[in-house]
């Protein structure tokens, strides 16, 4: 089981801020594929990975990063702080 968090328009498209997911995905990219296969709203959120960022256990990561041992995955658009 892994916690998956969504922020900004990713959260809005998927319609929830977080969920717990049972997954066998080995990498972030595999998890994205799995989510895309679920429902239209996931396809809408994950349509263009170049406009998305991912953090694993609160550290920025790449989409080919392994999920082994990871407890929290977060998906969000490029940040616009400051």
């Amino acid at each position: 089981m892994i916690d998956v968090l969504y922020f900004a328009w990713v959260r809005e498209r998927i319609g929830l801020p977080r969920e717990r997911i049972e997954t066998g995905a080995a990498t972030v990219a595999e998890l994205v594929e799995e989510l895309r296969g679920r429902e239209e709203r996931y396809q809408a959120a994950f349509a263009d990975l170049t406009s998305l960022r991912v953090a694993l256990d609160q550290e920025l990561a790449s989409f080919d990063a392994p999920l082994a041992g990871v407890r929290e995955v977060a998906f969000f658009p490029p940040m616009t702080g400051g």
Partner: protein, 146 residues
Amino acid sequence: MRIAVQAEPFDLGAEVSAFTAGVRGAGAVVSFTGLVRDEGGSLSGMEIEHYPGMTGKAISGIAAEAVARWNLVDALVIHRYGKLAPGEAIMMVATAALHRGDAFAAAEYLMDYLKSRAPFWKKELSAGGEAWVAAKDSDEDALKRW
């Protein structure tokens, strides 16, 4: 080094005063403050979302890097989230160093990294509706100079 992530407004003048009073030995203090622009009156406000579990960690990492790289006497970062009105301060950084070049460079570095590497997302609110602020290529490019 103080990092604050908060919904409440902060008192810019009091923060700059207190920071400066605490850095005896430094010769230069730089502060930066980001304000909600009113975009010619079209904006009614801004809403800032963040990633509570990551924000403090990310900012601390960026600030520690700046302190080490420019040998800062001290650094301060305050960043708000939630709803803000035009003209309100969104965030501030302050840096203190022996010489002005280091204080300026560290403050610009902090801003460039906070902009693109701290987990905040801005949404502009106007009479016409809401719109997430898109990240600018120029902000990502700004990181390359460091």
